[in-house]
Subunit: 415 residues, 2 copies
């Protein structure tokens, strides 16, 4: 017994440094999580309130062209770094500026995204949360006088905390942050701080009254082998849709760039295009966040066959012409509807295919298969996550080295 005690004391002594550094990052991550959760909570609550108020105004979506112009003005005038969809900008700053992010990005991104989304721009709320989170973290890192390595780690906590603030999935948030910076490499070093930041951001937003949804997907596992093959084919289809989306996204962005008109004029026409989509489809499904369509698909209802394509176009035009916002909510929309449409074609379970389609599309477009598996588990339960994992990994392979985040650095070839 004496020997055991003295050995344990020796271990404690020899590993003091590791234990202290773990504790240090544990507490720094709590700070990051609470800060980012707080700011994200304010953003999300305001967004919810704004959307519910706007929806009561008839023809509110006529404001989209003006909203894009204002959003573009805010970004150009006060913080050019706040341009683009959020997560992409954070990845770029991590690779090119050691995680330095201008503090002005925080309010500018917050207001520009609120204006874009409340009016009816088609974009997401996760990217801005990640970007605002990273901005908060980077600012705090400056105040604490952190060096570049610590700052980068702290900023990664911001991505993770932003993700889990929006989706309420702490593990997926941490793993997303560990996966999204590189293609084919997982950042183990940042896993613990990212996870703790993720948890505290989740707690803070939950206590602020932000609601995170958990879905119940019921499906039959009578024929496991058939299910595995169905997931393979769903993964291939989703992978192809992902490549198509990346083409559409950057094709439209480049086309808009080449048009010889001023930025505000393009923002106006871009916004007008979305108004026309509402007018011609007679529905509000393809503007705004579109979460009601995701819910509809996940509840096992059939969606319109054109829904994925239309959402790709409205999202690409929103982000390409001046609107501000993220890309993950549109990715969830396109993935869920694509899975749903495929299920209609092959006679699959609509709810299951929508849920798996959504996660596999995330895996493919952002190169984050592990985060996609975890989000499937955290949102839909172990069974969906378990079989869905096959589709997530297959679609991740099919998409090759393309990405909606061009700043992702390829660390290792996929095959």
């Amino acid at each position: 017994m004496k020997l055991v005690q003295s050995t344990i004391l020796r271990i404690l002594f020899a590993n003091t440094f590791i234990i202290l550094s773990t504790l240090k990052w544990f507490f720094l991550a709590i700070i990051a999580g609470v800060l980012v959760g707080g700011v994200s909570g304010v953003f999300l609550k305001t967004l919810d309130y704004g959307i519910s108020q706007a929806s009561m105004i008839p023809l509110y979506y006529l404001a989209i062209p003006a909203a894009f112009m204002v959003s573009l003005y805010l970004v150009r005038r006060f913080a050019p770094d706040a341009r683009g969809h959020g997560t992409e900008k954070v990845i770029e700053s991590l690779h090119k500026k050691d995680g330095e992010i201008d503090t002005r990005v925080i309010p500018v991104k917050l207001f520009a995204t609120l204006i874009t989304l409340i009016a009816g721009g088609s974009a997401g709320k996760e990217g801005p949360c990640a970007q605002i989170g990273a901005g908060v973290a980077s600012t705090a890192a400056r105040i604490f006088r952190m060096g570049p390595i610590n700052r980068k780690r702290f900023v990664l906590c911001g991505i993770s905390a932003g993700f889990s603030a929006v989706f309420g999935t702490p593990i997926a948030g941490a793993i997303f942050a560990g996966e999204v910076i590189y293609v084919g490499k997982f950042s183990y070093r940042e896993l613990m701080p990212a996870l703790i930041a993720s948890y505290f951001s989740f707690f803070v937003t939950k206590n602020m009254g932000v609601t995170h949804l958990i879905y119940q997907i019921d499906f039959d596992i009578t024929n496991e082998i058939a299910l595995v093959f169905n997931m393979l084919f769903l993964g291939i289809i989703i992978g192809i849709v992902a490549i198509f989306f990346i083409y559409v996204l950057y094709g439209i962005e480049r086309t808009i760039e080449k048009i010889p008109l001023g930025g505000y004029t393009k923002a106006f026409w871009g916004g007008l295009f979305l108004v026309l989509v509402v007018f011609f489809t007679g529905s509000l499904d393809y503007v705004g966040l579109g979460t009601h369509v995701i819910d509809h698909a996940l509840a096992g209802n059939a969606v319109a066959p054109e829904s994925s394509l239309l959402k790709m176009i409205t999202t690409s035009i929103t982000l390409g012409s001046g609107g501000s916002g993220g890309i993950l909510t549109p990715i969830f929309f396109i993935g869920a509807t694509a899975g749903n449409i495929w299920a209609q074609l092959v006679g699959g379970n609509l709810a299951l295919y929508s849920a798996v389609g959504m996660c596999a599309f995330l895996a493919a477009t952002t190169n984050t298969p592990l985060a996609a598996i975890l989000i499937a588990i955290e949102l839909f339960g172990v069974d969906v996550g378990s079989y869905g994992s096959i589709a997530c990994i297959v679609s991740y392979l099919i998409v090759g080295h393309m990405s909606v985040y061009p700043s992702q650095v390829l660390s290792e070839n996929k095959t």
Copy 2:
């Protein structure tokens, strides 16, 4: 619509290679999974039968010394590569021989482990399944004339399939295989084949009647913040216990090596030591697989304060003196009892702490935090996995760069 169709056709055409290579590996992985699942199933069924028969013989454990000697003889005479605990040998062969494994390892490891475990040696059944699985995969790779890169990937499918054959956790199996070869690096390239092999091995063993347990752990989430901190402390404790175990394991192994006696004599004395443990403790808890103790701890019962330490010693002596077997089941035993004992000291929930302790101890001793999180989710559900993830990552950090698998290659420092 024409444009959409032609773009999709172009994508299909341009990505034919990726799609075909994905399909090729999908089917190769099915072959690996079915082969490994079949052999593992035979091994596991025979083991169960043997253990149930042996338990009916009074004083059956008196055969341990003879069993160690026979086991040592089999390995020395027919396949020296079958020495040691299974997974470690596979990792070594992947790093040093491009995954070449002698076919004779399969039957030798199978029989030597059956003899060791049925008599009452303290070791695990996962390692041999992984080693047998890797041997089957390597043999199949020779028959298919695969090159070194493909063979290594195929052998990794063997590890994954062996893991999920034993524990019935397909995702954790695949992620374990992707994590265990290096420290601080995840092998994304092998994820899809490993996952598919894992599933098919799971299906095959399930259909052969191998039972995989799923536990129900009930715990209160009234104070989330307190729970996070409790998981932090549990992670630190488990990390320290892990370092201690690695010292004990290799300390006893080296001590036995230095004793100037013949191998069979040492095997005899090693076996006799285990018999004496049974005699002095008056219990069969520290010999054999010990799954009943794991079940007892996970059901929320208090275990004896000396149980983790005694199991460390019996396992180290079994593996060090000539017994054949794996190390994961002992790791689960030690982790679950250590968590349980800690819960008794601090007044924690015994079932929860045992479950999390088991997974966190796996994360620390084998450097596989993601696999540990997934095994927690697959065995105990999303809630345990979610909070348990904190302990898993913390213990993984605390252990530093030590490992029960000395062949693991350090790819990136942890901090």
